[in-house]
Each structure stands twice: as C-alpha cells, then as structure tokens.
Symmetry: none
Subunit: 234 residues, 2 copies
DNA sequence: ACGTACACGTGAATC
DNA sequence: TGATTCACGTGTACG
C-alpha cells in the first residue's frame, strides 16, 4: 500500500498488456460508442462476437492505417493518463511528507488532514500574538507622549491595521520615576523613532498579508497608509 | 470543466447504465480474469467468443445466484468507488476554497499550490511576523539599550514565550538623531519602563493563551517567568 | 486534429 | 470474507 510507484515499471505499457493478456482484446471500452456518434466511426465492436470490425461507413482506402492510428492513440492516451496520475500522486506524497502523522493514511484522510493543517496554520498566523483588540476607524501608527499627574512620563504607541479584522495593538510604556521637564526634545526624538519603527513593522506585516488568502474580507482597504498619521506629542 | 459534480446525478448509477447502453454488456473487464485464479471462478470469458459462460468447475446448484451475486458485487464495487472519488473530490474542492487563486486549476496544479501554501504558512508561523528568530532557552523579557557607532541610540526589546512554538518577538527602536551621552540614567528609566510594559503584556497574553487549545505542545512550561530576567544597559 | 483533464468501471491487494 | 483502497485503461468534453 505504501509505495505508490509499484516497482517503477511505469516507463511504458508493455507490462500491462501482459496483465490483461496480449490477446484479450479488451478494447471493449470502445463499445461504449453509444448511438455511434461523433467518434470518427472507424472501428466498432460487434456486440455479439466481441470482435473489432471495420466500420461499415466508408468503403475508403484507409483501413489498417486507421486501426494502427487507433491503437497508437490509445497507447498515447493511456500513457498520458499514467503521467497525470503520477504527477498527482507525487504531489500527494509531498504533502504526506509535509503534514505529520499522515504516512499511513489513505488519500481522502490525507487531504482531510491537509485542510485541517491549512486551517489551523492560517488561524495561528492571523491571530499572531493576539494583540489587544481596540477598533479604530483609520489605519495608522500613533505615538503619544505625555506627563502623568505624578510627574512620571509615559508613552502610548498604538498600531491599527485592517488586517486581520481591524486589530489594534497598543503599547503603553510608563516610567516609574519622574523626569525633569526640560528634555522635551529628547522625548520627541524617542517618539519619532518609535513611530518610524512601528511603521516599518506594519509595512512588513502588510506585505506578508498580501500573499495571505482571503478570509472574509473584501479586497478593499488591504494596504495601509504609512507616515501620514500624526505623531503628536502633547 | 468547472463543476466537479456534474449535474449532481451522483445518487445512483442508473444514469450511467444509460450512458454505456443498457445492453452493451461491457462486463468485458472481467475478461481480465487472467489465469482463472482466486476469483471464486463462477464466471469466465471464452476468449474466442467474448461471451460470459458458466465456469466448468462446479456442477453445483448455484448458477444464476452466482451470476446475480457477481453483478451485485460489481455494482456495489463501482458505487463504493464512486463514493471514494466523491470524497476525495470534496476535499479537493475544500482545498480550492481554502487556497486563493486555485479556482481554475486542475488537480495537480491545485495540489502543487497547496503544498506551496503549507510551506509558506509553516515558515511564517515559525518566523512569526518575521520577527528575527532568536531561539532562547528560557522565557524572558529582555530590554537592552546601546549606542550605535554613529552616535545614534537604539533599544532592543525581545520577548520570548513558549506559546506558540517558542516564539521570540524582537522590537528594535532606533533613533535617527544622535543623543548627548550624559543622560544614561534616562535611558535606564526608559529601559525599565519598556521592560515592565512588555512583561505586563506577556502576562495578559499568557493568561489568554491559557484558554486557547493546545496545538502539539505538552502542558509543561506554559506560564512565563516575570521580572527575573536582566534588563541590562550597556 | 490533437493533447489534456476528468469520471468511470474494473482487477488486484489488503485487512 | 466482505469492505475498502489503489492503479489502470477507457470514454468524453474542451481548447
């Protein structure tokens, strides 16, 4: 069951003619030629004898060339179909190597496990570091700094994106000790650097989400506006 | 090509008997009964006449019951096979809905896209939000500040938790302008406040992950140690 | 006209 | 032993 390419005798069809017998004549599938329609009617199967005879349509001159063409086309057809199956099974085998604990599963169970894996992987990627969810009305990076009442100092860096699900991440940094009030320019420097860093991170996350599949969101508003939000400092 | 369940006439096989003709008699596949082996030898095909005749083995009393059994088994077999195909195709359709831009792909291309998606999803989950992946051996919050070579100042706040999958989140804040070098105590204040804030956030995330389902991790090492890591400043 | 993709029914194998 | 899975060759539709 395990090996999908049985003994790698898939190079040609010579062995299968041996399986069904070289003269079993099971081109019987061609008897499915119902109502004798548009099948170029060169060969038909006499349903009482099971033999392939010439079609009574044409008295024409291409008799055995038609039969050889039929057999060649049939051989090409079966070989192409075998290649198609091999392609699909190779991908299935790759998926078996990719998803754990699927080595002994059949095809359907393997695919079920694959879709389960994809769903869970997507969930864990979208809920990455499940940030505090505070809805806002615009995409923005905002960094504010202000003095608290007791003389301590605090930053509030908020990052709002519309993917996934319009999530806001808010970081609040509060100093435990009070600062002298005459270094507002250094505070502004820190505010600007934090704003720039968060914008860069948001840029990368958005670029990564660009290749993420649609969940339930429409196509609009996928990109995020950078550097156009206020980095106000009170 | 698009609809995989053609016209949802897959409830039974009555229509297909119509397709191949009700009396086309294409049980010819049974002629593949090579060497008359262990196939319960009730029916064989005369290879010269292409007719199904009784097996010469038993003179016994189960003649037409054997033939009906054969036909019933064959019908059950084909129906079971059809159900198997439907199951597989249903999973494939689910995967089509799960992976974007695969609506018009054939099976092989769809599977190739699925394995590509799984690979990328796994990569992005392990490298969570492409935060620089720095494996650590303990859960910790670490905040470091140091001067760069050009006189600018940068913070490096790293947050390592064991859920999910021992991920490290690293934030690097870099100031664009240089600072005078005599305010190291204010830098220390900022470092401490950032460390405290990240520890608080990690606490909340951990509490939220408490109710999140386990993926493949054992139960050990779910809580995170706070305030015991170094907040060093160079 | 020819290749490609899919569903189908079948024989063999496994449990 | 009956049920289930798989590879196979084939018919059919489409570009």
């Amino acid at each position: 069951m395990g090996s999908y390419f049985w003994d790698s005798n898939t190079s040609n069809t010579s062995n299968y003619s041996g399986i069904f017998g070289p003269n079993s004549g099971n081109l019987g599938g061609f008897s499915g030629n119902l109502r004798g329609g548009s099948v170029s009617q060169s060969l038909v199967l006499d349903s009482e004898r099971g033999e392939i005879v010439k079609a009574p349509a044409r008295v024409g001159k291409k008799h055995e060339v038609s039969e050889e063409n039929i057999k060649a086309a049939l051989k090409n057809h079966s070989e192409a179909e075998r290649r198609r199956r091999e392609r699909i099974n190779a991908h299935l085998s790759t998926l078996r190597g990719l998803v754990p604990c699927t080595e002994k599963m059949d095809k359907a169970a393997l695919l079920a496990e694959v879709i389960s894996q994809v769903k869970q992987l997507k969930k864990t990627t979208t809920e990455t570091s499940e940030g505090l969810l505070i809805p806002m009305d615009t995409d923005e990076v905002r960094v504010e700094s202000h003095k608290d009442g007791d003389g301590t100092f605090s930053f509030r860096a908020s990052l709002c994106c519309d993917y996934p699900a319009r999530t806001s991440y808010v970081f609040v940094f509060t100093s435990r000790e009070e600062m002298n009030s005459d270094n507002s320019e250094e505070c502004q420097i820190l505010v600007n650097s934090v704003h720039r860093s968060l914008s860069t991170i948001l840029d990368k996350v958005s670029a990564a989400a660009e290749y993420s599949p649609r969940t339930t969101l429409p196509n609009k508003r996928r990109r995020i506006s950078f550097f156009d939000s206020s980095s106000s400092s009170s």
